[in-house]
């Protein structure tokens, strides 16, 4: 369980995180989405006690992170896979974490095997690891204390498609066993398969949050007509403003039923009419973040 309430972080005149609130429930994966610089990492650093909020609170399992004596047994954190000593071996990196948490280092080889870093890779120094291998080591590092909560910042960075698939399975299994996962990304597609809930932020503020299914449903309807001009005129008459997608379709914030009805009545030939789903969500996300970035610039 992660509870974030009105978290705000100000650096001088710049508001990096602005009144962010959300909750991650046990048994769910929450996708934390936003473009680079939106405030995802700052929010996560505040949750983990590495940065002090200007105002607001964050608790993990009901407790402020800094008040946990030995957090590794409750929360696994991976904020930056490159933040490991280049001169240490993968095995030693995990062993240090295990000793710190008061765990037997005998579990280290098994944990390395689980993330595909067995044998020679385990004995190599982190300097020689690819970014993907560092992410795998980082996941093993986060999970070595058998935590109930995982906080991962862009864990898919540097992983190949097979690695991303593997990680999704790992996180899904973790949540299905009752774990809580908070997972950030700047790509919707990267998290939408595995996430149950989505929190989208841009310019430091929450733009949208909710169940994935609900958000996908709310994304509107995709319409494509044989005559785009006639469709535009129809939408005008209906009083709805659509937005044009890259493929020539129009994303309309109305249900398929009402649009189909209106099209039939005015004789506009439709080639496509469907709930926009994730494509619409991505459009919406891009639009929201573009708008918040514009506001940022004009301020």
């Amino acid at each position: 369980m992660i509870e974030v309430e009105h978290l705000t972080k100000r650096y001088g005149r710049h508001l990096a995180v602005d009144d962010v609130s959300f909750t991650c429930e046990p048994g769910t994966v929450t996708g934390f989405l936003g473009p680079n610089g939106a405030g995802k990492s700052t929010t996560m650093r505040m949750i983990c006690g590495l940065a002090t909020p200007t105002s607001g609170t964050a608790t993990v399992s009901g407790v402020e992170y800094r008040r946990l004596g030995n957090p590794g047994r409750q929360i696994g954190v991976l904020l930056d896979a490159s933040a490991q000593h280049a001169g240490r071996t993968g095995r030693e990196t995990l062993a240090l974490a295990a000793v710190t948490m008061g765990l037997d280092t005998a579990r280290v080889p098994e944990r390395l095997r689980q993330v595909g870093l067995e044998g020679a890779a385990a004995r190599r120094r982190v300097r020689a690891y690819s970014l993907g291998m560092r992410q795998r080591l980082g996941l093993a590092y986060a999970m070595i204390g058998d935590p109930a909560v995982l906080i991962l910042d862009e864990p898919a960075n540097g992983l190949d498609p097979e690695g991303i698939h593997w990680m999704r399975g790992l996180l899904r299994g973790f949540a299905d066993r009752g774990g809580t996962v908070l997972l950030s990304s700047h790509l919707l597609r990267e998290v939408e398969v595995v996430a149950d809930r989505l929190v989208m932020i841009g310019g430091g503020r929450v733009l949208m949050q909710g169940d994935k299914a609900q958000l996908l449903g709310a994304a509107g309807t995709l319409v494509r007509a044989a005559d785009p001009v006639a469709l535009d005129a129809l939408l005008d008459r209906m009083g709805v403003t659509g937005s044009r997608c890259a493929d020539g379709g129009v994303l309309v914030p109305a249900g398929p039923q009402s649009i189909g009805q209106a099209a039939a009545e005015s004789g506009v030939v439709l080639l496509e009419l469907r709930a926009a789903g994730s494509g619409g969500l991505e459009e919406m996300f891009l639009r929201l973040t573009a708008k918040s970035e514009l506001e940022e610039v004009s301020r």
Partner: protein
């Protein structure tokens, strides 16, 4: 709200953190080689004396005191690295997420630093003993008489400089900067103290290079102890305290 198990809520014991910090000193190539160089150089001092020193100088106390020089110079670098490498390698991110009580981590680094200086002193004593045994048949004085006060004073000498290294590392949080400042600043101050007349009294009390030399002579006087205490406050305690405050407040990213 679920009740957290004691394994989670109880702070990581300082002993365990110290073990981790000691292990970190030796588990990277830089750290390991520094330790190897210290051992070899300490052995080297005995070899030098056996080969070239006056026969009267080939005694246990002489081997022991000369054997302290390499670790007194190089162990502080290990102390600096134990702090600054966490920032240069950004491992501080993992260290402080596993142990949010940052003061305990720094405390463990200090304890590890003291322990490693004890080990260095013991190593110097063992190697000095070996050299003394060899010196006998070679015609050296081979005297075993060591002033008891020198044991404690030698330990203190090592610990003071390691802690000064940790202090500078914590204050500056940058490996090259901390190493340069650690070696250059006290030397510049020593030179100024000896050249500028008006600084000579201040230098007597504030030049750690000078005041710490008393530790190598048996039975220090009260005056020597007070001068050492004052200079160690300036060069060790103040940087360490200021550095701890800096680290406690700093945002880690």
């Amino acid at each position: 709200m679920s009740a957290l198990s004691p394994a989670v809520s109880r702070p990581v014991p300082l002993g365990r953190l110290t073990v981790v910090e000691l292990r970190k000193l030796a588990d990277t190539r830089a750290g390991l080689w520094l330790l190897i160089v210290i051992v070899l150089a300490t052995a080297g001092t005995s070899v030098l004396q056996l080969g070239w020193a006056d026969e009267s100088e080939q005694s246990f106390p002489a081997f022991f005191l000369f054997g302290q020089v390499p670790s007194a110079v190089l162990l502080p670098v290990l102390g600096i690295l134990s702090v600054t490498s966490e920032w240069s390698q950004r491992t501080v991110l993992g260290t402080f997420t596993l142990v949010p009580a940052r003061g305990r981590v720094l405390g463990a680094k200090v304890v590890a630093g003291v322990l490693i200086s004890v080990a260095a002193t013991a190593l110097a004593a063992i190697l000095a003993a070996v050299a003394t045994v060899i010196a006998g048949p070679l015609g050296g004085a081979a005297s075993w008489r060591l002033e008891p006060s020198l044991i404690g004073q030698s330990l203190l000498l090592q610990a003071v400089f390691v802690l000064m290294g940790i202090g500078f590392g914590t204050l500056l949080l940058s490996t090259p900067l901390a190493i340069v400042v650690f070696f250059a600043l006290p030397t510049v101050w020593s030179v100024l103290g000896s050249v500028v007349k008006s600084l000579s009294t201040a230098s007597e009390w504030l030049d750690l290079n000078f005041t710490s030399q008393a530790l190598t002579n048996p039975d220090m006087t009260g005056g020597e102890w007070s001068r050492l205490a004052v200079s160690a406050t300036v060069w060790v305690v103040i940087p360490l305290v200021a550095g701890v405050v800096r680290v406690l407040r700093q945002e880690v990213s």
